[in-house]
C-alpha cells in the first residue's frame, strides 16, 4: 500500500521538479531519493502485514510476497536510475517527465503484485502500459521511435480489449470480480468461464511477450530509446509475470481446474522458448539480440505459471531479481557504446577491463551458469516444473534452449575478450558508474551462492 502511494506521489513530485530545478542533471538525484523513500515505505508494509495478509476493501491485499516483489522492483529501479539516469537527457528535453512516467509505471507494478480483484488487475496493467507507450515514442524526431510507440499503442490497446472481454466473461460466469471469492468450481467448468480464462491468458501472454503474441517486442524494444528499453524489458516484464502468476494460481487453479488451461500455457511456453532462442541467434545488433533474449527468458519465467506450487513462487521472485539486475547492467553498458552491433564490443576488455568483466558476469547469469543468480533462477523454475510431474518434456526442451542461449550471450563475451578492436565509448566512464555496476555484479554472485538471502523473506 505504502509503495503504491509513495510511487504515485513521487510521480507528481517529479513533474514539478521539472519546473523548479533548472539544472537538468540534478533531476535524477530527486528520482533516486524517491526510490529510496519508496523502498523504506514499502518495508513498513512488511511490518503491517507481519506474517499474514492484509486486505483492503477486497481490492488490494498486502502479503509478504507482494512486499518482497515490490522491494525487488523498487531496488531494480534504483539501480536503473543510478546506472542509466544520466542518459535520460540525451533522449529529449523533458527529463523530469520521463522520471515521472517511470514512477507511474512503478505504481502500476506495485499493483500487479497485490491486486485481489479483476478490476484492480485491469488498472494495474493499464497504469503500467500507458506511460510505456509515451516512453517508447520519447525520441520524437526519430521515425523508429514513433513507429515503436504507435505499434505498441495499437497492439497494446487491442489486447486491453481482449483482457476486458475475458474479465467480462468470467464475471458473467461467476458473478464476482474478486480473486478469492469467485467460484469457478473444481471439476467441470462452464464454457463461458473457460473462454474468459483463455482470453485473459492470451492478453497477459501479450503483455509478457510470449510467443505467438510476441511480434511487437523486437520492433518496440529496438525502436524505443535504448535507455527506456532497459526498463521496459526488465522490471516491467517481471511485473507482468507476477500478475499472470497471481491470477492463474489464485483464481484459476482450484481443484483440477488447471487441467483445462495447463496444456495451452505449456505450448505457449514451448513456442516462446524456441522462437526466442532461435531468432536471437541470428541477430547482428546487440540491442535486438537482447529483445529476443527477453522473449527467451520469458519462456523460462512462464514455467512458474505452468507449474502450480511453492517452488514456482520462489522461482519467479529469484528470476525477477536475476534477470532485471543483469539486463539493466548489460543495457547500461550498451548505452555507453557507440556501435550497438556485436562488433561494437570488439576489444572492450583491453580498453575497459572492469566493464568487460562485469558484463561477462551479467551474461553468464543470463545463460544460467552456476554461482550466478541466473542459475538458481532457472533451477527453481525448472524444478517447479519437474515437481509438477507431467511436464518433463518441456523441461528437457528448456535446457536444450538454455544451451542455445549460451551461443548468443557468448558472442558478446567473445567480442569483448578475443577480438581486437577499439570498442568506442560515447563518453568517459565515471567511477560512480563503475561502482554501481560492481554492486550489481556482486548481487548476482552473492545470490548465485546464497539464494536464500532473498528467499528467506518469502
Amino acid at each position: 500500500m505504502n509503495a503504491l502511494i509513495t510511487t504515485a506521489v513521487f510521480g507528481i513530485v517529479l513533474m514539478f521538479v521539472g519546473l523548479f530545478v533548472k539544472n537538468r542533471q540534478h533531476i535524477k538525484y530527486y528520482a533516486i531519493a524517491g526510490t529510496i523513500i519508496a523502498f523504506i515505505a514499502n518495508w513498513y508494509d512488511a511490518q503491517l502485514a507481519g506474517g499474514g495478509t492484509v486486505v483492503l476493501h477486497g481490492m488490494i491485499e498486502v502479503s509478504r510476497f507482494s512486499v518482497l516483489f515490490n522491494a525487488v522492483a523498487i531496488a531494480s529501479t534504483f539501480l536503473y536510475f543510478v546506472l542509466c539516469g544520466s542518459s535520460f537527457e540525451k533522449v529529449g528535453n523533458d527529463v523530469a517527465d520521463y522520471f515521472a512516467l517511470i514512477f507511474f509505471i512503478l505504481s502500476g507494478i506495485t499493483l500487479t503484485a497485490s491486486f485481489s480483484n479483476l478490476l484492480m488487475l485491469f488498472l494495474a496493467i493499464e497504469i503500467l502500459s500507458i506511460p510505456q507507450y509515451i516512453l517508447a515514442g520519447a525520441d520524437k524526431k526519430n521515425l523508429k521511435s514513433n513507429e515503436a510507440s504507435l505499434k505498441y499503442f495499437l497492439m497494446g490497446s487491442f489486447t486491453t480489449g481482449i483482457l476486458l472481454m475475458g474479465i467480462a466473461l468470467i464475471y458473467g460466469a461467476t458473478g464476482s470480480f474478486s480473486l478469492r471469492e469467485m467460484s469457478l468450481g473444481t471439476g467441470d467448468i462452464s464454457p463461458l468461464a473457460l473462454c474468459g480464462i483463455i482470453l485473459t491468458g492470451f492478453a497477459l501472454a501479450f503483455k509478457v511477450s510470449a510467443a505467438p503474441f510476441h511480434f511487437w517486442t523486437p520492433d518496440v524494444y529496438d525502436g524505443s530509446p535504448t535507455v527506456f528499453t532497459a526498463f521496459m524489458a526488465t522490471v516491467v516484464k517481471a511485473a507482468g509475470f507476477i500478475a499472470f502468476m497471481r491470477l492463474f494460481h489464485v483464481s484459476f487453479a482450484g481443484g483440477n481446474l488447471s487441467q483445462h488451461w495447463q496444456l495451452i500455457i505449456a505450448l505457449i511456453t514451448a513456442s516462446t522458448l524456441l522462437i526466442g532462442n532461435f531468432t536471437a541467434v541470428f541477430q547482428q545488433s546487440v540491442k535486438r539480440m537482447l529483445a529476443y533474449s527477453s522473449i527467451a527468458q520469458a519462456g523460462f519465467m512462464l514455467f512458474a505459471i505452468v507449474a502450480l506450487n511453492e517452488t514456482a513462487a520462489q522461482g519467479i521472485i529469484l528470476y525477477a531479481v536475476a534477470y532485471s539486475v543483469a539486463t539493466i547492467g548489460i543495457f547500461a553498458i550498451l548505452l555507453k557504446l557507440k556501435d550497438y552491433t556485436f562488433d561494437g564490443y570488439n576489444g572492450l576488455a583491453r580498453r575497459e577491463p572492469l566493464l568487460a568483466l562485469v558484463n561477462t558476469i551479467f551474461l553468464l547469469s543470463l545463460a544460467g551458469i552456476p554461482l550466478t543468480a541466473g542459475f538458481f533462477a532457472k533451477y527453481f523454475v525448472l524444478s517447479a516444473a519437474v515437481q509438477q510431474g507431467n511436464l518433463l518434456w518441456l523441461v528437457i526442451l528448456a535446457v536444450l534452449c538454455a544451451a542455445i542461449s549460451a551461443y548468443y550471450y557468448f558472442r558478446v563475451i567473445i567480442a569483448m575478450y578475443f577480438k581486437s578492436g577499439e570498442a568506442e565509448t560515447t563518453e568517459p566512464i565515471t567511477t560512480g558508474f563503475k561502482s554501481a555496476l560492481v554492486i550489481g555484479a556482486a548481487v548476482i554472485i552473492l545470490l548465485g551462492v546464497f539464494p536464500n538471502l532473498v528467499l528467506q523473506f518469502l
Binding site: 552456476p370 519437474v386 535446457v399 544451451a403 536464500n452
Partner: protein
C-alpha cells in the same frame, strides 16, 4: 577441514593472482599449488587412519535441503592427489615461458584447480553440479585467450558440448531430488533411493551423455582433438590429465551407485560405444602427422578402454580403471610436457618435419621413450597394472569385447613407436640439428614424472589399496541381475 582447505587455497590465491602483475603471478601460483600439494599429502596420511575426519558439512541452501558437503573416499583422494601433483609440475614446466597478462592466466589456472578438487570432493549433487561448471568456465577463457589461431570457435564448440551435457544431467539431478523422501541432494539420499527400472532407464542417458561428453566417448568426442590442439599446452595438460577424469569419476561416484539398474540395462550399449571409440581413435591416431592431434586421439582410445571397463563393472575392472585414471593422468601430462618442449624449441608440431633429435638432445629423447612406453603400458611401467586389470575385468564380462579392445594395445604400439621413430630417430635436418636439450625446471618436472612411472610400475600396491574402498562400495550397491 583439510578438504575445505584443498578447495579454498587455489580459490583464494587464484582470485589474488588476478591482481598481480609480472613474475609475481607465476611465483604466487607455484607457491599456492605447492601448498595445496602439502595439504593433499597431509589429507592422504589422515585418510589412512581416520577417513571420516575429512568429511565437512555445513548448511548451504536450507530451503532446498542442499548442503556444503565435502569429503574424500579412496577414489576422490586419489584424484585430489593427482590434481595436487599435476599443477606444480605444470607450473614448473612453463616457469620460463612468458604469457600475455600473466595475472589472468595463472589466476584462471588456479580457479580451474579449485573447481576440479571441488568436483572430486562434493558429496552433494547440487554442489557437484556447481563445481562441475566452475571447472569449465576458467578453462573456456584460458583456451580462447591464449590458444592458437582457431581457438575461439573450437573452444566454443567444447563449451557448448559440455554445457548441453551438464544441463541434461541437471534435469536428472532435479528429478531424483524430488523422488528422495526428505528432498535432499546428499549422496547418501541419492544412493539409498530405490527408483523403478523404467525411471532408471531414461535417467541413465541424462547422466551418461553428460559424462560421455566430458570423457569423451565415441560419438561425443568431436570437440576433443581440436580443443587439445588449439589450447595452450599447460591447459591441454589440465584438460587431458585431470579434466577428462571428471567424466570417469562421475560414472563411478554418481551413475553406478545411484542408477545401478539403469547402468545394468544399458551396460552393453555403453561398452559397445566405448570399444568403437577405442578402435576408431587408434586408427585415426596412426594416420596423424600432427604431434598434438596424435596424442589427443591416443587419449580418446585410452579413455574409451577405461569407460568400457567401468561399465563391465566387476572388481578387477573397477580397480584397474581407478589405478589407470591416476597413471594415465601422469603419463599424458608427461607426454604434453615433452611436446611443449619440442614445440617451444622448434616451433613445429608436424612429425614429418622432425627427426634425429636423439643425437642432439639425448635427455629429451630418453624421456620421450620412457613416457611413450608407459603410455603403451609396457610391464614395469605404471600403465601396465591398470591395463592388465581392466582387460581381465572386461574378459570376465565378455571375452569378445576384451579381444576387440585388446587390439588397442597393438595399435597403440604402432602409433607410439611410429611417433618415436619419426621424432627422435632418423636423419636430422637443419631445423632439428639446433635442438636445445631439457633445461632446469623442465628436466626436474619430467624426471619426477619418470620417477612416478617406474615406482608405480614396480610397486603399485599403495595405489591399489587407496582405491580399494571405492571399488568395494560400488560393487556392493545393488547390481540387480
Amino acid at each position: 577441514m583439510l578438504t575445505v582447505l584443498l578447495i579454498l587455497i587455489p580459490l583464494i590465491t587464484g582470485l589474488i593472482t588476478f591482481g598481480l602483475k609480472g613474475p609475481g603471478a607465476k611465483v604466487m601460483s607455484l607457491l599456492s599449488s605447492l601448498a595445496t600439494l602439502v595439504i593433499a599429502v597431509i589429507a592422504w596420511l589422515q585418510f589412512q587412519t581416520a577417513p571420516e575426519a575429512l568429511r565437512f558439512t555445513e548448511s548451504w541452501i536450507p530451503q532446498l535441503g542442499s548442503q556444503f558437503n565435502v569429503g574424500l573416499d579412496g577414489m576422490g583422494m586419489m584424484l585430489c592427489l593427482l590434481t595436487a601433483i599435476s599443477f606444480p609440475l605444470i607450473f614448473i614446466t612453463v616457469f620460463r615461458r612468458e604469457y600475455d597478462r600473466p595475472g589472468a592466466f595463472y589466476g584462471l589456472m588456479l580457479l580451474s584447480q579449485a573447481g576440479l578438487i571441488g568436483v572430486f570432493t562434493a558429496y552433494d549433487a547440487l554442489l557437484f553440479y556447481a563445481f562441475w561448471e566452475l571447472a569449465l568456465i576458467p578453462v573456456y577463457f584460458l583456451c580462447s585467450m591464449w590458444g592458437g589461431e582457431r581457438a575461439v570457435p573450437v573452444t566454443f564448440k567444447f563449451f557448448v558440448y559440455t554445457f548441453t551435457g551438464s544441463l541434461l544431467m541437471l534435469v536428472g539431478i532435479i528429478y531424483i531430488y524430488f523422488q528422495t523422501p526428505d528432498h535432499s541432494f546428499s549422496w547418501t539420499a541419492f544412493t539409498t533411493l530405490h527408483l523403478s527400472s523404467g525411471e532408471q532407464s531414461w535417467l541413465f542417458w541424462l547422466f551418461f551423455v553428460a559424462f560421455a561428453i566430458k570423457m569423451p566417448v565415441f560419438p561425443f568426442h568431436t570437440w576433443q582433438p581440436d580443443t587439445y590442439e588449439q589450447s595452450p599446452t599447460p591447459v591441454t595438460m589440465v584438460l587431458s590429465g585431470i579434466m577428462v577424469k571428471m567424466g570417469l569419476f562421475g560414472v563411478v561416484r554418481w551413475l553406478l551407485p545411484v542408477l545401478p539398474q539403469g547402468a545394468y540395462m544399458w551396460q552393453e550399449a555403453a561398452i559397445v560405444l566405448s570399444v568403437i571409440g577405442i578402435i576408431y581413435a587408434s586408427c585415426i591416431a596412426i594416420m596423424q602427422s600432427d604431434l598434438k592431434r596424435l596424442i589427443a586421439y591416443s587419449s580418446i582410445a585410452h579413455i574409451g578402454l577405461m569407460s568400457a571397463a567401468i561399465f563391465a563393472n566387476n572388481e578387477q575392472s573397477l580397480q584397474g580403471v581407478q589405478v589407470q585414471m591416476f597413471n594415465h593422468g601422469i603419463n599424458i601430462i608427461g607426454l604434453w610436457m615433452l611436446v611443449e618442449v619440442i614445440q617451444d624449441r622448434l616451433k613445429i608440431k608436424d612429425m614429418n618435419g622432425l627427426g634425429g633429435i636423439a643425437t642432439h638432445a639425448p635427455k629429451l629423447a630418453v624421456m620421450l621413450v620412457i613416457v611413450s612406453l608407459a603410455n603403451i603400458a609396457l610391464p614395469l611401467t605404471n600403465g601396465f597394472i591398470g591395463e592388465f586389470l581392466m582387460f581381465s575385468g572386461l574378459f570376465q564380462y565378455n571375452p569378445w569385447f576384451a579381444a576387440v579392445a585388446a587390439l588397442a594395445i597393438i595399435l597403440a604400439a604402432v602409433y607410439m613407436l611410429n611417433m618415436l621413430q619419426k621424432v627422435i630417430f632418423g636423419e636430422s635436418n637443419t631445423l632439428t640439428a639446433s635442438t636445445v636439450d631439457l633445461k632446469g625446471g623442465e628436466m626436474l618436472a619430467i624426471a619426477l614424472i619418470a620417477a612416478v612411472i617406474f615406482v608405480l610400475g614396480v610397486y603399485p600396491k599403495p595405489l591399489l589399496e587407496l582405491v580399494h574402498g571405492t571399488t568395494a562400495l560400488v560393487n556392493a550397491t545393488a547390481w540387480v541381475k
